[in-house]
């Protein structure tokens, strides 16, 4: 097929909407509905790969959808960071769809049509954010994601779901309206452009004295707190609250799509709005780096206290997301590279862990870690995958996570932030402390009650989590390719 890259952007964005439409039409026959979702998500991945092929060879395809308001357009331009994010989101969508079908059916969940429909919208929003060419488009996609995932979080419609949803929507809307929108408006009033440009758009204004460094520091703060999806403390509460959702939601959205849109936006703002040179020269990111460091440690410590597996994973995510914010705040080529890589490695690792949590719940209805003793006998595949993914999250070989942590550590060394280096190292130890005991207990400790028989979750749950577990190891060996692909984002100007 001979498709121009800009057309590919359009097709990639249209596909989730097509899925949405078909899900709506085929809602009455679940098999057809889920089959179509599965096929179309695979086709979407193919198109995204085609686009990636072009982008990684240096192309920067653009597509202008239209002008929403005079001066503010909905436009897309694909660069490597967004491309990598889009690949991750669309690739893991296939896996999650398989898993979601298995999970939702074996649970006899209600409202499956609504569930898969909202899922498609969320993926659409993720891709739109990934491809966005300006802050305005990114903001629209960001908010669309918040709204479309609310019904997923509150899927069960219980009192607990209502409360979780309230926290979720409250914090995400509050931060995005009060801070993020303000930051975008302010950026616009300084520069009169919102386009992402290599090297940033604020440099000129700073040189011409239009804006003072302290104002830029304030602007960076507005962005950092406004992008609530990055779950920087103290605006992280929504993420644990969102765990009330069914596990596939937690897996794809709250380990990959939603939170990664957050950190992706932070990276994007740091690289293409401020410019990493500007941040590192003026040191306006230093406080943010330390806040991220604090979030890394505090969230890890909180994670250790959680007995509920999903809650523990949620706090682990908060901590891991701060790694990426740290990479953006340090603003060196190495740290930005580390941040970009971490989007990928953490996504694959964490989605595996969530899949495992869901599989355990499906097979045994257990949610608390203290109940999981001896579970390794019953669910060897699940627990094995959990172990492999934990290795990657901790940052040990042969998990992909080792590379991103390596580059982040390199960034702290380059900028002589020794405390932050220490924070990274301590965090790895904490990761070991709160992740590794789970598989160890499952395999080594005998069960309290009668010995468990082999009882894995349904195949549609187990196969995806094995795939992603293998993926974490594959990423270890693919690091060079990932590095090459992401290299352009560390260059200051084109």
């Amino acid at each position: 097929m001979n498709l121009t890259p800009s057309l590919l952007i359009g097709i990639s964005l249209a596909f989730p909407l097509l899925v949405l439409l078909l899900i709506g039409l085929l809602g009455r026959s679940p098999n057809l509905r889920d089959g179509v979702t599965l096929i179309l998500s695979s086709v979407l991945f193919y198109f995204v790969c085609c686009l990636a092929d072009h982008v990684f060879q240096g192309g920067r395809p653009e597509w202008l959808l239209g002008t929403l308001l005079p001066g503010f357009s909905i436009a897309f331009q694909v660069e490597p960071l967004g491309m990598v994010f889009a690949l991750v989101a669309s690739g893991l969508w296939i896996v999650t769809t398989v898993y979601g079908i298995g999970y939702m059916r074996s649970h006899n969940e209600q409202h499956q049509t609504r569930f898969f429909a909202c899922f498609a919208v969320a993926i659409f929003a993720a891709l739109a954010a990934a491809f966005s060419a300006n802050l305005f488009t990114l903001f629209v996609a960001y908010e669309l994601m918040t709204i479309s995932t609310y019904p997923l979080v509150t899927h069960h419609g219980t009192e607990k779901a209502k409360r979780g949803g309230r926290t979720y929507l409250g914090i995400l809307l509050f931060t995005s309206i009060a801070f993020f929108m303000m930051a975008i408006g302010w950026t616009w009033s300084i520069t009169h452009t919102l386009d992402f440009q290599p090297g940033g758009i604020l440099q000129d204004s700073l040189e011409s004295g239009n804006v003072q460094p302290w104002q830029l520091a304030l602007l960076l703060a507005l962005f950092a707190f406004g992008i609530g999806k990055a779950a920087l403390m103290p605006f992280h509460r929504w993420l644990p609250a969102a765990m009330v959702a069914p596990t596939p939601v937690s897996a794809l959205l709250h380990a990959v799509a939603v939170v990664k849109v957050g950190v992706f936006t932070i990276l994007k703002v740091a690289i293409y709005v401020f410019g990493i040179d500007l941040i590192s020269e003026t040191h306006i990111g230093d406080w943010l780096a330390y806040l991220a460091g604090a979030t890394i440690l505090l969230a890890s410590l909180v994670a250790m206290t959680k007995d509920n597996l999903k809650a523990r994973l949620a706090y682990s995510t908060v901590s891991q997301l701060a790694y990426i914010t740290l990479g953006a705040a340090l603003a060196t080529p190495a740290s930005v590279m580390g941040g970009g890589m971490h989007i990928v490695t953490h996504a694959v690792g964490k989605i595996t862990l969530f899949f495992c949590a869901g599989a355990i719940y499906v097979a045994t209805h257990k949610t608390d870690i203290s109940d999981m003793r001896g579970l390794g006998r019953a669910m060897p595949l699940t627990m094995g995958a959990f172990f492999i993914a934990s290795i990657s999250i901790i940052g040990l070989p042969p998990g992909g996570g080792v590379w991103s942590k390596w580059f982040l550590a390199l960034g702290t060394v380059e900028t002589h932030h020794w405390f932050l280096l220490a924070a990274l190292m301590i965090s790895s130890l904490l990761n070991i402390a709160y992740l590794i005991p789970i598989p160890i207990r499952a395999f080594m400790k005998p069960t309290t009650g009668e010995p468990l028989k082999f009882k894995e979750a349904p195949l549609m749950c187990v196969v995806p989590l094995c795939c992603t577990a293998v993926g974490t190891v594959v990423l270890f060996f693919l690091a060079n390719q990932l590095y090459e692909v992401l290299l352009p984002i560390t260059k200051v100007t084109q």
Partner: protein, 493 residues
């Protein structure tokens, strides 16, 4: 031939149709006649808008008396824009009306509804199009008197009292306006707005002029329901029949805002109002206080109509913020918000009407779990509520974004920040209702109810989808509004 008389036809058609309605005895016939009139007026005003966009402002001399002596009608960007959405909403609301009226208004009084409705519409349109200041007063009274009558038709025993409250406040407002007009007439010897503006010229010092301006501003602030002159509004909106609330909430306050813009920008000039006398500071302050107070009040309401009424008071504040910014972007955002809010609030009040029909109550406790039996109506509330909050891809976002960028460009950081913070209050009062609709156990009333009829859902969704359409396609709303703002500012050097 007809085309030439369009400006007057828009006002005259509903004005003449109104008394004719009384003579038609058959209820269905009356309704159909009024409906046809409304849609025809809508068509006429769209036609007029198209003509103005094509050829520029049109001046029409009533009875062929030349301008400063006779009465002049001026169809320019702003007036035709406002007229187009006022008539549009009037037509949609009346399409929705029959089932709702049957439920909410005593059948013996049905014959009053349609003539009053048309009279009110004609009054509102008259305020928009006339270029004569005394005419503004006359039409204001026509629309106000008919709206008092409409409000008093509500079934609740409190409806007449609410109407009376409104009557007292509204009359004070209209009288203030009249005093102002009288003083200006004494000063200039003319009632034609354009002529008056020329005669007043750069004279900024006259005490008479200042007093006239003060009277007119306060008078219109009462009609606009600007905090703290809003007290008539919550009761009037709550106890009026649903369709009356929908119609008045979406149009009447907007037209008052329109009249205010006219007076500030076309007669007194912003230099006089803002630069010399510093009205912008007062307006901004009252607007912000009003937004916070009214939004907070909305959070604590237990009656859905009352909740939306307080929200309306808050939303007027956003319009005033834009208008008092005294630059083109700000004024544009104010005008755009008039339109967007009309669509949003109109749509939401129609949703409320659907609940009122099926549940015979709009108290929040009776709405518990309504999404089970009324999924479409409930979902319409969600969409409309998102518009009210100002989520991207809805009309509310467009006006909020314009206001934000205008404020930041104006270096009014405090205003921008407070404006954004206040819009979070809208999240609370909208989502509180969403949670009640979706996450509560159904109330008794809900269990025995069913989805609203198509005849009401379709017009409701017409406006609700309008919220989404005008959130994406802005060349109509923002395009014309910015042209209007440019014309208003260009007219006053």
């Amino acid at each position: 031939m007809i085309e030439q008389h369009l400006p007057v036809l828009v006002v005259i058609v509903p004005l003449i149709a109104a008394p004719l309605c009384v003579f038609l005895f058959n209820r269905t016939l009356v309704y159909l006649f009024a409906l046809a009139t409304c849609w025809a007026t809508f068509g006429l005003s769209l036609f007029l808008l198209a003509k103005v966009l094509q050829t520029g402002p049109i001046s029409y001399e009533l009875g062929n008396w030349p301008a400063p002596y006779g009465i002049e009608y001026v169809a320019d960007y702003l007036s035709t824009f406002v007229m187009s959405f006022v008539t549009g909403i009037a037509a949609v609301v009346l399409t929705y009306a029959p089932r709702s009226l049957n439920e909410e208004v005593d059948p013996s009084r049905h014959y009053l509804v349609h003539p009053m409705y048309l009279l009110c519409l004609s009054g509102l349109l008259g305020i928009c199009i006339t270029g004569d200041l005394f005419n503004v007063f006359v039409f204001l009274e026509i629309s106000s008197l008919s709206s008092y009558a409409l409000i008093s038709l509500g079934r609740s025993r409190r409806a007449p009292l609410a109407a009376f409250q409104y009557l007292v406040m509204g009359t004070i407002g209209a009288t203030f306006l009249l005093i102002g007009i009288g003083l200006l007439y004494q000063l200039t010897g003319t009632l034609n707005m354009a002529d008056m503006a020329t005669q007043l010229g750069d004279d900024h010092g006259s005490r008479t002029m200042l007093v006239a301006f003060a009277f007119m501003t306060v008078g219109l602030c009462i009609k606009m329901a600007v905090f703290p002159l809003h007290t008539w509004l919550p009761n009037a909106y709550t106890y009026a029949p649903s369709i009356v609330t929908a119609f008045i909430a979406a149009t009447a306050t907007k037209v008052s805002v329109y009249a205010f813009i006219r007076i500030v920008y076309s007669i007194f000039t912003p230099q006089f109002a803002f630069d010399v006398h510093g009205l912008d500071v007062f307006l901004t302050a009252f607007a912000l206080i009003g937004i916070f107070v009214a939004s907070t009040a909305a959070i604590y309401q237990v009656n859905l109509k009352r909740l939306l009424a307080y929200s309306s008071i808050a939303q007027v504040g956003y319009m005033l913020l834009g208008i008092s910014m005294n630059n083109q972007d700000g004024l544009t955002s104010g005008i755009v918000h008039m339109f967007n809010h009309a669509v949003i609030k109109g749509g939401l009040f129609l949703v409320v009407g659907c609940f009122a029909l099926r549940l015979s109550s709009v108290r929040l406790e009776d709405l518990r779990g309504a999404s089970r039996t009324m999924p479409w109506t409930s979902f319409a509330w969600v969409l409309g509520g998102l518009g009210l909050i100002g989520v991207p891809l809805t009309a509310g976002f467009v006006s909020k974004w314009l206001l934000l960028t205008a404020a930041l460009d104006n270096a009014s950081y405090l205003v921008a920040g407070l404006m954004l913070l206040s819009s979070l209050l809208a999240v609370v009062y909208v989502w509180r209702v969403v949670e009640i609709l979706y996450f509560s156990e159904p109330s008794e009333a809900v269990k025995s109810s069913r989805e609203a009829p198509w005849s009401m859902l379709v017009p409701t969704y017409l406006l609700i989808i309008g919220i989404l359409v005008f959130g994406v396609w802005t060349s109509y709303s923002v395009g014309i509004a910015s042209q209007a703002a440019q014309a208003l500012l260009g007219g006053s050097p």
